[in-house]
């Protein structure tokens, strides 16, 4: 685990130099010769895409499963990629065009990208060395045995996220026997959104309203026209505007593509979302615009809620949020009057702040108040597609018995049984209220490594260095005794790993995608993809990598499937379809079940809770955090940073349509488009940008294109300034996933989380990405 950094010439700058030389030669010499030499002559018969074979895929760039149609030559080159009409995640529904977003299209580049990790590596004498697959599996098994003997398997952290196969959970929990696991969702994406929604009775469905049936949509700290979880979000939103004449409201301190398409843009003061939500509730209750029947018969805790908002007038909120009181009244009335065909979407924007719990609870409460719960156009209780557990349903014949008898199911051990997670086990973590609610927190992992409670990690499709306390994580990776990485690109994790498994990318493997929300409001669905081409270079699919580890560890008997397709077919038994059937024909998706609205009528108890005093883990955490159980106002700084004279600007990191989860920053085409979007493509720089209002930039002598230093109390970094009127004065942002540790070969730009110390939401441990900073020019 020696630290290595990326540097040197990038492929991009080499290409640039090459292109310039070719142009010079062309202008100075014989044009026809040059054109022929570089292969740019006219071939009027060439229509390679039209002549290629068709295959289907299941986009994994952001892991949200937009269906792909790809064109592949006979020798396995993927040369064309597009969407599948009518597919649940990448269209607006039946009869509509299916597409891929720019990062989805970049899967074409990624498949054959020469910058990918091309083969396995193992660390020998402190250096990563090329290895055969056999050597890598043997090395891994030996190290895992030693690790268990020395530290105990329970100190190994499973950080597999969004993998194309679920068996990593089986291997690390059931077989290796560790109870420790971290994913990106609750722990770094939007803990308060997920958990508050769950406790209030709506799960994490407060993220995705029933767009297409809605007449009033509030995008609260969200920008779904750029940062969508499947293109159906953007398409559904546009459809609601076009077909329902829906009113669109965006609440965001930065002007986004979603704000551009909105009827109202409220450039709210950062971290004051909770106050705005309380004032909206005040108006809705005072003016009797709420759904009294729903509130009385199907909710819990309304009186406490009513009391909590009694003095939260629009005038009170106007002072805090910087939104006029009349505007607050207008939005509250518009939302309530359109209900139940009115929805709110929240996700990361209102959750990645230390007072994000109350922001999320206060906003989510508005849904219960207007009675839009699981009603058309409101907060939809999206239903997952059921799949079978292959370990239960598989039918197989053991090799080692002299019988052809077929056995059903695999008798998996539970080697993690009885093992307690470090967060619950050790007194060192008693100061963290979230230990009552969660099993781990991203920002605590470095501390757990320091304490010897976590000593190794399996990191797969998971980029921890872009979230939370990045510097401490980098040290923690150094300190861990065993780091196993599965990835397609070199980054801060793979460069510091002991074993690097070169992962094939999605078009090189069999996959299925299921989920809940989609363009189909009343259907469950499944999308399938069969490998369009062989694993490129000397890579393997994650299924084959995990099976390789399992076999070397002596767990081969637990995996009786010939290949991933057989495993997937067992998952699909529940739906009475095979992967092959799913991918044959004109499209690669199926609608598999239908469900209606108002599903809460089938459940006992209230459909919705305003007050969470009946949820014991929350009550314990809230007591320790000094927080009430009802919707309430927590000013910025109650838990997170306060702005000061030394650090007068508020920083927050944001997303771009070109990148997802920090995993595709290495793709040149996306970096170039990102630079074009910011009109800075004439610079060589391909890092992230610091978006800053001219008021703040002028004060500091900063102009667009300048390299600037941004500094918080605990960290700093350099990046290029983008001075823009599209951001609130006093607020600065930058795209996350760049700089130190990123998937970009030269680590260009800044790792925004170098500014972060350990600020967290006390209830879920969600890293707080609002940081008090100062910006200086003249780097």
């Amino acid at each position: 685990m020696s630290s290595q950094s990326g540097d040197g010439l990038t492929r991009r700058s080499l290409l640039k130099a090459g292109g310039a030389a070719a142009t010079m030669a062309a202008l100075g010499g014989c044009v026809d010769d040059v054109a022929r030499q570089v292969g740019f002559g006219t071939d009027r018969t060439a229509t390679p895409i039209a002549d290629a074979n068709t295959a289907f895929g299941n986009c994994w760039m952001c892991c949200h499963n937009c269906a792909q149609e790809v064109k592949v030559t006979d020798d396995g080159q993927v040369i064309g990629i597009t969407g599948v009409d009518g597919n649940p995640r990448g269209s607006a529904g039946p009869g509509t065009e299916g597409t891929l977003c720019p990062k989805g299209l970049a899967q074409l580049d990624k498949t054959h990208d020469p910058e990918r990790i091309k083969q396995p590596y193992i660390r020998v004498d402190g250096e990563l060395q090329e290895a055969t697959w056999e050597e890598a599996f043997e090395y891994t098994a030996e190290r895992l045995q030693e690790f268990d003997d020395e530290h105990g398997a329970e100190t190994f952290l499973d950080a597999g996220s969004w993998a194309e196969t679920p068996i990593f959970r089986t291997i690390w929990r059931d077989l290796y026997g560790t109870p420790e696991r971290i994913g990106r969702g609750v722990h770094v994406c939007a803990g308060p959104t997920f958990v508050a929604g769950g406790m209030m009775g709506v799960g994490s469905n407060n993220r995705i309203p029933d767009y297409q049936n809605s007449e009033y949509l509030i995008m609260w700290g969200r920008n779904p026209l750029e940062a969508f979880a499947g293109q159906f979000e953007a398409k559904g939103l546009l459809k609601a505007i076009e077909e329902n004449n829906a009113t669109l409201v965006t609440i965001d301190p930065q002007y986004t593509e979603t704000a551009e398409k909105s009827d109202e843009w409220l450039p709210i003061a950062p971290r004051t979302d909770g106050a705005l939500a309380l004032a909206m509730a005040h108006v809705i209750i005072e003016e009797n615009l709420y759904d009294a029947e729903f509130v009385e018969n199907h909710t819990y805790g309304f009186e406490a809620y009513r009391e909590a908002v009694a003095d939260k007038t629009p005038e009170w909120a106007a002072e805090i949020t910087d939104i006029e009181a009349d505007k607050i009244r207008q939005i509250a009335r518009g939302f309530a009057e359109a209900a139940p065909q009115a929805g709110i979407s929240i996700w990361t924007g209102t959750a990645q702040q230390a007072n994000g719990w109350k922001a999320s609870q206060n906003i989510t409460a508005l849904n219960g108040l207007v009675g839009n719960i699981d009603r058309p156009g409101g907060l939809r209780l999206w239903k997952d597609t059921p799949t079978a557990d292959p370990f239960e349903v598989c039918e197989w014949t053991p090799d080692d018995k002299a019988t052809s008898e077929t056995i059903q199911g695999v008798d998996l051990p539970n080697n993690a049984a009885g093992k307690e997670k470090a967060l619950h086990k050790y007194d060192e973590y008693n100061e963290y209220p979230f230990r009552h609610v969660e099993g781990i927190a991203h920002n605590l992992v470095p501390e757990m490594v320091e304490n010897g409670h976590i000593n190794g990690i399996y990191c797969h499709h998971d980029m921890p260095l872009k979230d939370g306390n990045a510097d401490a994580w980098m040290e923690a990776l150094d300190q861990m005794d065993l780091v196993i990485a599965v990835d397609a690109y070199w980054n801060g994790v793979t460069r510091n790993a002991d074993v690097v498994f070169a992962d094939a990318t999605q078009l090189e493997k069999d996959t299925i995608g299921t989920g809940s929300w989609s363009a189909y409001s009343e259907h469950q669905w499944v999308i399938g993809g069969k490998a369009a081409t062989e694993p490129q270079f000397n890579t393997k699919s994650d299924w084959d990598i995990l099976i390789g580890i399992a076999e070397e560890m002596g767990w081969g008997e637990y995996f009786p499937w010939e290949d991933h397709e057989e495993f997937i077919d067992d998952q699909l038994l529940e739906l009475d379809i095979t992967l092959d059937e799913l991918c044959s024909g004109e499209e690669n998706f199926e609608l598999v079940g239908e469900y209606g609205y108002e599903q809460w009528r089938e459940e006992d108890g209230p459909a919705f809770s305003f007050d969470l005093d009946q949820v014991p883990p929350f009550v314990q955490a809230a007591n320790e955090a000094g927080m009430s159980t009802v919707p309430d106002w927590q000013p910025p700084g109650t838990y997170g940073d306060e702005l000061s004279e030394a650090y007068p600007l508020e920083f927050f990191d944001i997303r771009s349509v070109f990148f997802s989860h920090g995993s595709d920053q290495g793709i040149d085409r996306m970096l170039d488009q990102f630079a074009k979007k910011n009109e800075l493509d004439d610079k060589d720089y391909r890092g992230n940008y610091l978006h800053i209002n001219p008021v703040d930039a002028d004060e500091r002598g900063i102009e667009t294109g300048d390299m600037v230093t941004i500094e918080s109390e605990t960290g700093s970094g350099e990046l290029m300034a983008h001075v823009t009127e599209l951001i609130r004065p006093g607020f600065v942002t930058s795209e996350y996933g760049f700089g130190a540790g990123s998937a970009q070969q030269d680590y260009e730009g800044m790792n925004t989380m170098k500014l972060h110390a350990k600020q967290m939401d006390p209830i879920t441990g969600q890293p707080d990405r609002h940081i008090a900073v100062e910006v200086r020019g003249g780097v």
Binding site: K16, A46, T82, T99
Partner: protein, 200 residues
């Protein structure tokens, strides 16, 4: 003379995602750092908080009275009678850039070995693709869908014979279309904003 083809762009539906320009480059085998045949720009105006940032996707407009065709000394550029698509014969093009200077939209590019290349409405694939090809066919008759149209996330870009596009267009858009040389029908957004015709 066959019916003229045109592009259609609905400002209200463009979300500025660049899928059109990415898919265009991919369809025509163009590297990321080569000049684009289709570009997306946000036209940003105003002062916080009264701002606007209108995304615009543009390519060769296949102008009715194509100025590039007129200035080409080698007659390499053709405004095709059969479908109105403007193509270039790269075998006779000498890379003089006259078309680039004449074009109000910056459509011609020259980084394919110094010879001009630009949008051919996906009549063919690659630089020079489309020149000398049979008349443009609609998708249902076996013609390819232009990459930008096929991959537009917001369904903002369309291409087809003018008579078909007309049926979907508003009166205001058609009036503007009649007055502009560019062979593109553009819908303004809900606020009435319309950044076309837009010089590069």
């Amino acid at each position: 003379m066959g019916e003229q083809w045109a592009f259609y762009f609905d400002t209200d539906k463009c979300i500025g995602c660049h899928a059109c320009s990415v898919s265009c480059s991919q369809r025509h085998g163009r590297d990321s750092d080569q000049d684009e045949w289709r570009t997306v720009k946000n036209v940003t105006t105003g002062t916080f908080p009264d701002v606007s940032s209108l995304p615009i996707s543009m390519s060769c407009m296949h102008c009715a009275d194509a100025p590039c065709e007129k200035v080409c000394p080698c007659n390499s550029i053709v405004k095709r009678e059969e479908d109105g698509i403007v193509t270039v014969d790269r075998d006779s093009c000498i890379g003089c850039h006259y078309c680039g200077w004449a074009c109000p939209y910056g459509a011609p590019t020259y980084d394919d070995g110094g010879i001009m290349s630009k949008c051919n409405m996906c009549l063919g694939e690659g630089p020079g693709g489309g020149h000398g090809m049979p008349p443009r066919e609609e998708q249902e008759d076996g013609g390819s869908t232009p990459a930008c149209v096929d991959n537009c996330v917001g369904d903002a870009i369309k291409a087809g014979p003018v008579s078909e596009l007309k049926e979907q267009a508003s009166d205001a858009a058609m009036q503007a279309f009649a007055q502009e040389p560019a062979n593109i029908i553009v819908e303004a957004d809900r606020d009435g904003d319309n950044a076309f015709p837009y010089e590069a």
